[in-house]
Amino acid sequence: MSRDLVAAGAPRFTLPTFEGPLDLLLQLIRENEVDIYDIPIAEITRQYLERLARWHDLDLTRAGDYLVMAATLLEIKSRMLLPKPDAGADDEPDPRAELVQRLVEYQRFADAVGSLRDWEEFRSRLHFRSALENPDDYRLPAEPGSLRGVDLARILESILDAAGVESEAVSAVVPRQRVSLRLKMAEIMRAARAEPQGISFAGLIRDASELFDIVIAFLAVLELLRTGRVRVIQRRPLSDFRIAVRDEGEQEQDT
């Protein structure tokens, strides 16, 4: 009935190289060469707790998941130790059944990971061309639903990067200069009028030292766009864009 467990000569365990308590359990089951449907729960629980004890610096968020499993194992162990009631003993479900089901389920997905890894590897050897830079002006606004929150975050990130907001650590105390939206709009209009080709947004915020300045500049562009005083030309999604003054004729058409 009892199986020889390889506890004695077991390979020395070094680092947690598994993906959670189920993975650790499966590893123990493999190492001990026991049947997943007939787990010697007392011995496996002992080894499981032993491994946990060896991690001294396990952070709490990860430890939580492992401790929940430890509690489950101990509960199963205690239920198996209880004497079975005489009558209807056969109907008593195996206390391990639920755990086994979870392990088998997890194992199936862990196996699928192998295929995914292979396909990832295969795919990484294929190279596709990226979407062409559209030779026509990219039309704003983008179609509803075509941009997601992540895209917007990325745009903001690239703008902040271009402005070097993060990299510059300013230590001096500078009195805040409040720039109003109205002033900013006037400034943009003035700059844009001087450039028939329009001005680049990245250029506009090049000297910005604060997030606030960039936000104000962007809001100003949006407001000018809304009131039909400028056009915005973007060559491709997520890139810098140019702001050009719309001529009188264009503006007339709108009204």
């Binding site: 199986r3 020889d4 993906e19 959670g20 308590p21 189920l22 993975d23 049947d35 449907y37 007939d38 968020t61 990860r62 998941d65 499993m69 059944a97 086994v100 089901q101 979870r102 088998v104 389920e105 997890y106 194992q107 199936r108 997905f109 862990a110 196996d111 699928a112 990971v113 295929s115 995914l116 890894r117 396909w119 990832e120 295969f122 795919r123 990484s124 050897r125 294929l126 190279h127 596709f128 061309r129 990226s130 979407a131 062409l132 997601r148 992540v150």
Partner: protein, 188 residues
């Protein structure tokens, strides 16, 4: 050598639309652009591939993520790699496990994923969403209305899959009725 089944003009047209497309072109879209039936477009696609094979081209046509696309041959990846820098690294095991569960179970909630994996998945999910492999797909009409997650078209592209039906069936029967343990003689 295989006889071309489509007329040369159509083959050229299909080759041209494949060339300009930065993403997989569904057959219907190729047919619409080239103004032919889908069968004719498919035949033309095969001829494009035949031509590329014949002249030893570095390119090939692949069926991927619901469409057809030109890409480099796998054997040339080293050469191409010298030119390009790889943007993002391979997925971690945790990310692969999570995306596997989503792919097979979609749409699926975070607690459901965590129940299978036995560990929290918040940060892994965030990574998968950032890499556009997974997206939110509505909410489950249960208490708390948890967010449902599903895979994206980029997921298919990332793993070079045509569609989700190409995922192999999960190994092992459903674990509802475990077989009684086999009785083996103890290893002496």
């Amino acid at each position: 050598m295989r006889e071309p089944r489509s007329d040369p003009d159509r083959r050229a047209c299909v080759e041209a639309v494949l060339f300009v497309s930065g993403e997989p072109l569904p057959l219907a879209e190729i047919a619409r652009a080239v103004d032919c039936t889908e069968d004719q477009a498919l035949a033309a696609l095969e001829d494009v591939q035949g031509r590329l094979d014949q002249c030893g081209s570095g390119l090939q046509v692949v069926a991927i993520a619901g469409g057809y696309q030109l890409c480099t041959r796998p054997g040339l990846s080293e050469v191409v790699g010298r030119l390009l820098t790889r943007e993002a690294g391979r997925l971690s095991r945790a990310a692969l496990e999570t995306v596997a569960i989503i792919a097979y179970r979609q749409p699926v909630t975070q607690p459901e994923i965590e129940a299978v994996r036995g560990v929290g998945c918040s940060s892994v999910l965030r990574t998968l969403i950032e890499r556009d492999l997974v997206r939110e797909s509505g909410r489950k009409p249960t208490p708390g209305r948890p967010i449902l997650y599903a895979t994206t078209r980029s997921f298919l592209h990332y793993f070079a899959l045509r569609d989700l039906s190409e995922l192999p069936p999960l190994e092992g029967a459903a674990p509802s009725a475990p077989e009684p343990a086999e009785t083996e003689p103890d290893p002496a």
